[in-house]
Every structure is written in C-alpha cells, then in structure tokens.
Symmetry: C2
C-alpha cells in the first residue's frame, strides 16, 4: 500500500517551530509572561524583521498568540501544541522500550533454559 | 545582553528531522526492527532518491544508524536523541504549569481574603 504525501500537519508545524534556538528562546521568555515584539527582539543580535519571521512561525504552529491593543502587539505563549509533540515522542520511546523488554525476556528465557537443561535421553541411558 | 546566533545544535537537528510525516513514518517502521533502504521506500509514493534524502536527515540527527554488509545497507532506529527533545518540551510544559499554579494560588488567596475581610474600624465605631 502506498502512503500519500499530505499537506503539513499541526505536528509538523510545531516540531519545525521548535527546531531553532532563537524560537525556543522566545518561547522560554514568553512562558514567563506576555511581551511586546520589541521586548522579545532586544536580547537577540538580529533585526526586528528577522525576529518577526520567527514569531510568525511560532504563531503558525499555534505556540504564540498575538493580542493587538491599538498599535501595540502583545505576544503570549500557548502550550497546547506541545502536548501532541510530547505524545508522539513518548509513543516512539514506549515502542522502543517495549521492544527492548521483549528482547530482554527472550534472553532471560534462554539463560534459564541453559542453566536448567531438560534431562537428555542419552545422559539417562549412560547413568543406568 | 545579546544572544549570539549559533550553529544548529543536536536538538535542532532532532526536531527538524521529526518535523515531517514521511520521516516519522520511517522511524515508526524502524522501531519495529532493522530494515533495508528499499524496504523503507516501498510504502511511500516517492522516488528512492527522495526517501534517501529523508534517511540522511534522520542519520544526521542520530536517530538512524546505517550498517553496511557488502552492497546492502541496513538501517536501525536510535532512540537516544529523543531524550533531549522530550526533556526540552517537558521543561517548557513544567514552567507553564508552575506559572498557572502560582496564578491559581494568587486567585485562591484573593477569594479567601474577600470571604473573610479583616474587621473594619468604621463598623466597630458604628456599633458602639
């Protein structure tokens, strides 16, 4: 069965938005409370325009909400998209752990079988 | 203080590698066990070359290991980079939860103060 290539999902946007140190730093700053675009740009050695592009990627992912008061734009952190990203990573780790556990049980069963071998017909014959 | 823009980190590579449905599907397949490149490409409606590019992004992130046996290439899943990605997301969610808890405590304290107001001087004077 062929898997169709589909349009980017919410999860794609979230992970892509997180895959940059500047955008992660912006989110860390916003998790401490609402801020203006100019306040967010201040710690970064980049233009306001470059920071605005990062903010738009965070908005597209639903990680940042923009509130307009006249000409002022206030940005706030929206944590909900992180749930899906965390769930995907955890499910992948869980699958891996389950596979390792199955492998460990198999090896333990083999160890037990080697330590307590079933009585062999030949040995019984030799002892008689 | 200005934050310098640095080279992409391991975490950047990991999150970028995960930000695509085809690459996530490849990882899910590999978490079930080692596979050849051709086996991985089979379910996707794309060229072997396109799939190879996705695999190289997963290798760069350290999520996939390539084992060569003669001309055959076997790919396996390496879960370690997921730990850092999960840790970052969890730390962000924890900061947010801590902030919500602090806000809730503040509101509860205000509710309690409103329900049990301190005795006012004026009231005592009126009753006398």
């Amino acid at each position: 069965m062929q898997t169709a290539i589909s349009a980017p999902t919410n999860l794609d946007h979230t992970l892509l938005a997180l895959a940059d140190p500047t955008r992660r730093a912006i989110l860390r700053r916003l998790s401490g409370g609402e801020a203006r675009v100019t306040e967010l740009a201040q710690p970064f050695a980049m233009s306001l325009n470059a920071v605005s592009k990062h903010i738009r990627m965070l908005e597209r992912a639903g990680l940042v909400h923009r509130r307009r008061v006249g000409r002022e734009h206030f940005l706030s952190f929206q944590p909900e998209p992180l749930d899906e990203a965390a769930a995907w990573i955890e499910s992948q780790r869980a699958m891996w752990t389950a596979r390792l556990d199955a492998l460990e049980n198999l090896l333990l069963a083999e160890d037990r079988a080697a330590a307590n071998p079933p009585p062999r017909k030949e040995t019984a014959d030799e002892e008689r």
